[in-house]
């Protein structure tokens, strides 16, 4: 059973539907007792980092997530959910994150080093560039995935960067350390490539169960 953490930020249905299509049981909940029973957790999310963090704090889900990760539970953050795994974001003023991974979240400059301006958000299909082997990427082609975001992770630890994409800057696309993973893009919206990554996460969770 995969627990999808519902903290009122955005689109949970597409994640749960993607899992259902793979015949993976999942539950959408904000109840710590329910999520506690889940063997793996997904932290989805669209919207603003600051709002998301304050909801997680109000509901106590922030400490719950940290405890579960410390207990070794597999965790996948998606989009804003991935950004929340890092130390801080400058979105709407500096806000502290869950600090499970090293790095901070900043807005795309929107202007290249030579002064050419480009569009923000980074919206659409971009190609993955694998940085190191990971069970999350096993059997997945180095292909296009769907991004929608205006902020990206900077000053990350090289060892935690699994795949990136290029959009003026290097954009961490798949990150992870130990039992904590994140994708900046939406695997549930990235056709077969994304579904392959989701499936790998599910398999990791299942291995744990055995």
């Amino acid at each position: 059973m995969i627990g999808i953490i519902d903290y009122g930020m955005g689109n949970l249905y597409s994640v749960s539907k993607a899992l259902e299509r793979m015949n993976v049981e999942c539950v959408i909940s904000n109840d710590r007792d329910v999520l506690f029973e889940a063997e793996g957790l997904i932290l989805p999310g669209v919207g603003s980092f600051r709002d998301a963090m304050s909801i997680l704090q109000e509901t106590g889900l922030d400490s719950f997530i940290k405890e579960e990760v410390a207990r070794g539970k597999k965790m996948l953050g998606i989009c804003l959910g991935m950004q929340l795994l890092f130390e801080e974001s400058e979105e709407n003023g500096v806000t502290e994150g869950l600090s499970l991974l090293k790095g901070k979240v900043e807005r795309f400059p929107g202007v290249t080093e030579v002064g050419a301006s480009y569009k923000v958000p980074h919206m659409g299909w971009n190609k993955l560039e694998f940085q190191q082997a990971s069970p999350l990427l096993e059997g997945v082609p180095e292909d296009f995935v769907y991004f929608v975001h205006s902020y990206y992770v900077k000053d990350f630890a090289e060892a935690e960067l699994l795949a990136s994409s290029t959009y003026d800057v290097q954009v961490p696309a798949v990150v992870g350390r130990g039992n904590v993973f994140g994708t900046q893009f939406h695997p549930e919206k990235s056709s077969n490539v994304g579904l392959g990554i989701l499936k790998n996460f599910v398999n990791l969770v299942k291995e744990e169960e055995r």
């Binding site: 955005g10 539907k17 804003l80 929107g110 569009k119 958000p121 659409g124 939406h186 919206k189 056709s191």
Partner: protein
């Protein structure tokens, strides 16, 4: 590098696709879920569903359609038409839509863009603009109510205002080009695309693959949308993409 996106658009009325879709091989030509799956298979990068239901019941049906599409599709999709409030947006996003598109309601109440962006993030909020050239103005004007009412807004200004309020993307339809199949309105597309910082989807006028190339190269569009040429199988998403690839345009 981001790829250029090709977006088929489906008009949905009371839960059924309208606009004379001709898919002989599909059991149920008017079923939005089957059509969506077909376009997904063909390599569409995204889909737009335009709810043109007149009734409240029709709108409720749209929520079901969105749920079913989300259950079947692993590509992003936008839903537009008749969205008037945060509650409307919430229902559609909760049902599985990735973005909502605002048109008339945003012009009547621009604050709706801001409220939506604050609540769901800019990436969820598409502002659709119906544009028509105004001779006396020497520029394009924004129309509402499905192109029936003229507003005081000049298109580029309204696009900029929308982005300032939090729109994450602009869906720009040229009423002059729409249905003509003579190509996208490149001057309009270029004018808007170079005036805003967010992606612009060109719409209206697609007749053949080369029109998409011009939309991207001359129109500086980030994505291009078409309905009838795909529905009537005058060309396919696959054909358009292989043409673009041949011409050196980055596509998925």
């Amino acid at each position: 590098m981001l790829t250029k996106r090709i977006i088929p658009c489906l008009d949905v009325k009371e839960g059924r696709v309208v606009k004379g879709v001709q898919f002989v091989e599909l059991r149920d030509a008017g079923d939005p879920v089957e059509l969506a799956a077909f376009y997904d298979e063909e390599g569409a990068d995204e889909l737009v569903f335009l709810d043109i239901s007149a009734s409240h019941e029709g709108r409720e049906t749209m929520v079901d359609v969105v749920e079913q599409v989300a259950a079947k599709l692993a590509i992003p999709f936008t839903v537009g038409g008749g969205i008037n409030s945060i509650d409307d947006m919430k229902r559609l996003l909760r049902a599985g839509a990735d973005k909502v598109s605002l048109n008339t309601a945003a012009l009547l109440n621009p604050y709706l863009i801001q409220a939506g962006a604050d609540y769901f993030g800019s990436q969820c909020i598409v502002v659709a603009i119906d544009a028509k050239y105004d001779e006396s103005l020497g520029s394009w004007r924004v129309y509402t109510h499905g192109g029936r009412r003229e507003t005081d807004w000049e298109v580029v200004k309204w696009a900029q205002e929308s982005v300032k309020l939090g729109a994450g993307e602009i869906l720009l339809t040229s009423m002059d080009s729409d249905g003509e199949k003579k190509g996208f309105n490149l001057a309009l597309t270029k004018a808007v695309s170079s005036a805003v910082s967010v992606p612009v989807i060109a719409s209206g006028g697609a007749g053949e693959a080369s029109h998409f190339l011009s939309a991207f190269e001359e129109g500086a569009a980030d994505a291009a949308l078409a309905a009838s040429i795909f529905h009537y199988k005058e060309t396919s998403v696959k054909e358009v993409k292989s043409y673009l690839k041949e011409k050196g345009v980055q596509v998925r």
